[in-house]
Amino acid sequence: MTDQVFGCMSACQIREGLATRQFSAREIADESLKRIRALDGATHAFLETTEEMAFEQAARIDAAIASDLLDEMGSLAGLPAAFKDNMNLIGTHTTCSSRMLANYVSPYTATCVSRMLAAGAIPLGKLNMDEFAFGSSTETSAFGPTHNPWNLSCVPGGSSGGSAAAVAAGLVSVSLGSDTGGSIRQPGSFCGLVAVKPTYGVVSRYGVVAFGSSLDQVGPFTRSVEDAAYSLNALAGRDPLDCTSQHITTDFTANLSEGVRGMRIGVVPAFMEAKGLTAEVKAKVEEAADHLRQLGAELVEVDLPNAQAAMSAYYVLGPCEAFSNLARFDSIRYGYCDPGHKDMNSQYDASREIGFGSEARRRIMLGSYLLSAGVYDTYYYPAQQVRTLITQDYARAYEQVDCILAPVAPRTAFEFGAISDPTEMYLSDMFTISINIAGNGGMSMPVGLGAETGLPVGVQLIAPQFKDENMLRVAAALESVYGPAPVATAFLPESDLSAPANIPDARDAVPGVVLGEEGECRA
């Protein structure tokens, strides 16, 4: 037996321990599941645990170790992992935190998930999110919100809030999230993690429930840059099942120790003066810039003159693509079906009324309106033209610099209910959205706690398209100053926090799912 807390360990520490037989993969699975059950009551990051799959994967790893074949198990061997609940994993519920999919059981596995498993990660469960990824706080989950491990009365950010909270609480070492307008980077900043949205096309989207198909990208949450790089090595590359995925041969760990001497790093004055950017976040971005300068980088001012149009372009393009993607929930093939209807239209109306939460309904209706005849030319077409201008802005900036440094979110994590106006909530993504519009890679890198709130702050590093290794190199330099992301204080191994969770096991949960207070499921 061991008293080590595996979810607080890195990929290298886990591999080292397995190789020297300090512990077995079975112990990792067993202890990690125990820790999740003991502590997740406080965060509610998990919607479901995957005991059976965890032990099967552990047995494979232990068998490989017994045959001296650990090296063939991949760079994530034994690493405790979990997945956002919009990612299919065969035999688990994939709910998108929506009543619509409360009883949906995946008949197949998403490519991003299967690649993490092929690299040796141990799957421990599925993670809470904003419903269908529509939100920036995880408050729109039909199964109740996730709490920020750094302050349980604050949101973890969103939409990948469960993915961020699980890693920040040391329940897992790596999780996957998806990012359409900031949904990896903003919760990464709120929970103080390394959180990477790769360039569009680096990771296959096959098997991830679609929100905005020209904007969505999958990426990892970790506590170290090296673990993020290992995860990207596992995730990246061509998948015949997603025609937008690209051939990628980059080793994302290759240049992490090169430092930033000689690199040119851009700062955007308009971002630093933006209305709504809090003093503590601004101070942290400036501090990170100073550190990079001291480490030998050249800081260069760059202009993104059209970036301020990104918000409105996104809130045209995102809902239009979501409207199209969410048309598939027809109550017939899968998803909630309201019983007792004698005609098809009333079954559709009732099933989609009850199945979708209010933010999902808003975005579907908005998208439908924006794509309607006459309105299309006023909003949708100009938004795609603005997309060209924003993409050109970035291309021009990257003629001068190798990477851009910016804020991630205008502030640190806010309290539950603090933002109730949808248009105000949308401002959470003001610094992240233009990157999805242009398709570049972006990441949040933790740089300590804010001076006023004492909550984590991340800085955003933005790379040219398919040069994601640039931002990882800068992130590694910042990590040499700030250290790897810490586990939230209350969840450190020596803490005496006890918050038993009541999480359904994937196998036992079939076919029902316990819903949160708001989610009175009529299925």
């Binding site: 025609c243 899968y334 559709y348 060209t388 999805n436």
Partner: protein
């Protein structure tokens, strides 16, 4: 705030996207959608003459066709697993013709 949409418009959209809304929900949705559409105004004020649209972030993509070969897919049984109602290996839906059909 400009009224882009009336409650009548919102009812029409709801019918089109097949989402039932109560009267109270129509009222709130009308307020919300008008506020959001108002916030999109910057997009209508840009000088965009001659700017080509970008429909996709990777400009170099071309369409991909795979070889026309039979590959394994879902069995009928698996494809029906998540359906709420099935009959004789098919999805079962309410009648769409005749009595109980279109309203």
């Amino acid at each position: 705030m400009t009224e882009h949409l009336s409650e009548h418009d919102v009812r029409d959209i709801a019918e089109y996207v097949r989402i039932g809304l109560t009267d109270d929900e129509v009222e709130q949705m009308t307020v919300d959608l008008n506020a959001i559409i108002d916030s999109l105004r910057p997009i209508t004020e840009y000088e965009l003459d001659g700017v080509e649209p970008t429909f996709h972030p990777i400009g170099t993509l071309s369409n991909v066709m795979r070889d026309d070969m039979v590959v394994p897919g879902f069995s009928q049984e698996v494809a029906l697993e998540n359906a709420s109602k099935t009959q004789d290996g098919s999805f079962l839906i309410p009648s769409i013709l005749g009595e109980g059909g279109d309203r």
